[in-house]
């Protein structure tokens, strides 16, 4: 490890020299990234072995996601935490046990090295919690304006054990829809953290890895049909995808939606709909009615499922559509979001 660099990099910034392929780059990689992630070797590719791979009937799951969140650090998390949780969750909701991640960083010239260290530490912490290893990675430095401080891409590999089959197309009328906690905290936290509206709030992002939760749920409710993480586009978008893939209708109960008062308030003021706010630690699970109690109990035993609750069910009516019974007993369609949610004028 290069102690000299560590000392002067402490309050330094990334320069184009760090992307040049020479000594400065190698020092940055060793001093900031690999000393924390500790990959097995410094080869360009990771060589992977795991006993789970050898199980007959087991299947590989592979996913990738890029993270460009602004601001890079926000209440309840940072870009590194989401980058690990997001990819772990993509694997987990498909029934896979997440094992390995890659992490690629696009760094804007001028990015503080102290910030990089915080992001990397937060990635290592989340990977540890989720039981995954960050085994390979890459860094690139671009000139000012070529990126916004820091972009992170993670890819993940997991193993789906034999006999496990989750899929939106398996959802049947009568199945119960469960979410693992209050909705919209991440979206509302990001809106507040951007600070471009005069709303102070104490809302923290819900960002969390959901691998252990999925394992617990699948052990308690082996007949579970499908799960989706309700990230961009919120619960509404996740449910619309499931409705479309399954050919079922989905009926939500507005009175049952778990929402924090602060999130509701933020949405009321800005004219946003919490059903479309992003979450980074929330999933919606469909289980046959007979297993709903077991699934719910398994969820509520874990901190990331503490607020788990039934929000609706799959029905035969209105195939492919998501509708919501309003608190007055009226009903309305909950459609896919068109583009971005834009705050209303008045």
């Amino acid at each position: 490890m290069n102690m000299a660099l560590r000392a002067d990099a402490k309050d330094g910034v990334v320069t184009l020299a760090h992307g040049g392929g020479g000594k400065a780059m190698r020092d940055l990689i060793e001093d900031v990234f690999t000393c924390v992630f500790q990959p097995a070797s410094m080869e360009d590719q990771a060589r992977l072995t795991d006993t789970a791979l050898a199980e007959p009937g087991a299947r590989l799951a592979f996913t990738t996601d890029s993270f460009v969140v602004d601001p890079v650090e926000f209440p309840g998390g940072d870009i590194g935490k989401i980058a690990v949780c997001g990819t772990v969750n993509d694997l987990a909701v498909g029934g896979a046990r997440p094992l390995w991640l890659s992490a690629a960083f696009i760094i804007e010239e001028g990015c503080e090295i102290a910030l990089l260290r915080r992001v990397v530490a937060s990635m290592a912490r989340e990977a540890d919690k989720a039981g995954v290893r960050i085994v390979t990675g890459d860094t690139k430095v671009v000139g000012r304006g070529g990126a916004d401080k820091l972009f992170v891409t993670t890819s993940g590999i997991g193993v789906i054990p034999a006999g496990r089959a989750l899929g939106a197309e398996r959802v049947r009328p009568g199945d119960v829809a469960i979410v693992n906690g209050v909705l919209g905290d991440h979206g509302a936290a990001i809106l507040s953290a951007r600070g471009d509206m005069a709303l102070a709030s104490s809302i923290e992002s819900d960002c969390a890895g959901l691998g252990h939760l999925m394992e617990a749920v699948l052990a308690a409710a082996p007949g579970a049909r499908a799960a989706r993480d309700a990230t961009r586009g919120g619960l509404a978008s996740a449910l619309n995808e499931i409705a479309e893939a399954s050919g079922c209708g989905i009926e939500l109960d507005e009175a049952a939606l778990p929402l924090r008062a602060e999130v509701k308030g933020t949405c009321e003021i800005l004219g946003l709909d919490p059903l479309y706010l992003a979450n980074e630690g929330r999933l919606v699970l469909f289980v046959p009615e007979a297993e709903a109690g077991a699934a719910l109990a398994a969820m509520t035993r874990l901190p990331e499922g503490e607020g788990a609750t039934v929000v609706g069910r799959a029905v035969a009516a209105n195939p492919g559509l998501v509708s919501m019974r309003t608190i007055f007993g009226g009903s309305r369609i909950v459609d896919m979001l068109v583009g971005e949610q834009l705050p209303r004028i008045c």
């Binding site: 559509l321 007055f328 309305r332 369609i333 459609d335 583009g339 834009l342 705050p343 008045c346």
Partner: protein, 380 residues
């Protein structure tokens, strides 16, 4: 949530709905001969669909969705002018979020931003002022849009800029006022209306007196209403009761917020900074006398029209509505959104052809988003 849940109490809603049904029957209204109430404000239109109130009220009661969505009624020529302004290299163009998607004849502000124009979404004109302070080398233009609800804040920001001598701040004024289009609708011989639900937030500023002509000259009842579902239901009931009793009055359901005389500080700021234009174009409704505001001569230095020479009066700017667009017919209550031949075909929220599909407060967008259309499609 305190102060919100109270206005969404299901038990109270059921009682109001039962009363609405009863009075609608008393009036003798039926699905074939409905009593027709216009909710003027887009916020009310949005609430009606968001809470599914249209499906809970009796068939003898018909909501006609009024012109109170500032983004919807903004003429295309003005969007074109916004784009022109935003594309000037020296300009930082600032706007409320929901104006971003409104289509101009060539492009929307969203498209102009993607092509490189410096356009920033702000939540208040004060944010635009702050940008002007921080970037003295750039011209910061704020897109002043909206009814009497947003006019005071742009007026105050202009006065603040004047006090600070911020020479790089200006407002592209497109503010409009609520009473003139109501008068225009009442003068339209095709328009058959029995009463109005008035926009509460506008009355917070202007009070209830500007609506007196509706009752006095046209014999129609109006109730100024809040925006929570119970506010709306109660206001509808109040209108229906006046219709049943043959009364035409201006009543105030939103008394917890709306004083009869409005807000004198806001009104004085508007009066100081703005004056009525001889006429202003409303998308879907055409030119309406004295319905728009321009910045007074004394604040000319902060008037983007004067500064960049693209004034409203600079020439004939009218742009024809796209062919087949029936927004005018929908806005005057002559047809339902679903009866428009373009609805859901040539005109969707992704690619809006007409004004009412642009903002979530537009009647067509509300129909589309909350179910009219999609549910029908699914039922077919």
């Amino acid at each position: 949530m305190r102060y919100v849940e109270e206005f969404r109490d299901p038990m109270a809603a059921r009682a109001l709905l039962a009363a609405i049904s009863r009075v609608t029957d008393d009036i003798g209204a039926t699905a074939d001969h409905p009593v027709r109430i216009m909710e003027i404000c887009g916020g009310h239109t949005h609430a009606i669909f968001r809470y599914g109130l249209d499906r809970l009220t009796p068939p003898g009661l018909e909501f006609i969705h009024g012109p109170g969505c500032p983004v919807c009624v903004l003429p295309m020529s003005r969007v074109d002018e916004c784009v022109e302004l935003a594309e000037r290299p020296e300009v930082v163009f600032t706007t409320f979020g929901d104006a971003m998607r409104v289509p101009g004849t060539k492009k929307s502000l969203m498209q102009a931003k993607a092509e490189g124009a410096d356009i920033r979404m702000v939540y208040s004109p004060l944010d635009a002022l702050e940008l002007a302070r921080r970037h003295p080398d750039r011209e910061v233009v704020f897109f002043g849009l909206g009814f009497e609800t947003t006019t005071p804040s742009t007026a105050l920001s202009i006065r603040q800029a004047a006090r600070e001598g911020l020479s790089n701040f200006s407002v592209f004024a497109n503010h409009i006022t609520v009473p003139p289009p109501i008068k225009a609708l009442l003068d339209d011989p095709h328009m058959v209306l029995d009463g109005f639900v008035g926009p509460g937030h506008v009355s917070m500023v202007i009070g209830t007196r500007p609506y007196e002509f509706i009752a006095r000259d046209y014999g129609k009842p109006i109730v100024v209403a809040g925006f929570e579902p119970l506010d709306l239901l109660q206001s509808v009931l109040m209108v229906l009761e006046m219709i049943r009793d043959g009364k035409a009055e201006v009543q105030n359901q939103y008394g917890r917020v709306v004083p009869q005389d409005g807000n004198p500080v806001s009104l004085a700021a508007i009066e100081d900074v703005y004056e009525p234009r001889p006429s202003f174009e409303w998308r879907g409704l055409g030119e309406i006398d004295a319905s728009g505001l321009s910045i007074r001569e004394r604040y000319r230095a902060f008037d983007a029209e004067a500064k960049f020479g693209i004034g409203y009066g600079a020439g004939p700017r009218h742009v024809e509505e796209p062919e087949g667009c029936a927004c005018g017919l929908v806005m005057t209550g002559r047809i339902k959104p679903t009866a428009c031949p373009q609805f859901g075909k040539g005109c969707t929220p992704e690619m809006p052809l007409g004004a009412l599909m642009v903002s979530s407060e537009g009647a067509c967008a509300a129909y589309w988003q909350y179910g009219g259309a999609r549910a029908m499609e699914a039922a077919e």
